[in-house]
Symmetry: C2
Subunit: 79 residues, 2 copies
């Protein structure tokens, strides 16, 4: 089963990569007000149902893929 996880810095958390992207885009003349940078993780995993996959991925996020203190995550499981 395929799934996509988006891991983003939470609002209010410093995002140096986003700041660098924002300032570089502005220097190139692009009309950017804000940029934030996170990670996209594409997974292929063994799971019998989308619900089971989602449960497994939540555990992966809590244990390894995200830092819940400073990052939020969003899970999309391909049906």
């Amino acid at each position: 089963m395929r799934a996509t996880i988006l891991v983003r810095p939470k609002a209010g958390i410093l995002d140096p990569q986003g700041e660098a992207v924002e300032s570089s885009l502005r220097q190139l003349g692009f009309p950017v007000e804000e940029a934030r940078v996170g990670r996209v993780i594409d997974l292929d995993l063994d799971a019998a149902t989308p619900d089971e996959a989602r449960g497994e991925i939540e555990r992966m996020c809590e244990r390894l893929l995200a830092n819940p203190l400073i990052e939020s995550y969003e899970i999309e499981v391909a049906e």
Copy 2:
């Protein structure tokens, strides 16, 4: 206008970060077959229409946000 860009390593391109995630998840006992890691970029930009925003973002991707030789990108503009 808000937009989200997903930048991913192209198929066949080495992805050391994905390999590290894959092997760590397996060591933790998760039934993962493959993991690939890319970037998610959230932008707030000035644009009159979603089409104009998409055009600007394509130029940003070609010039700064992605390396078209080894990465593919996907643009979602919030209507």
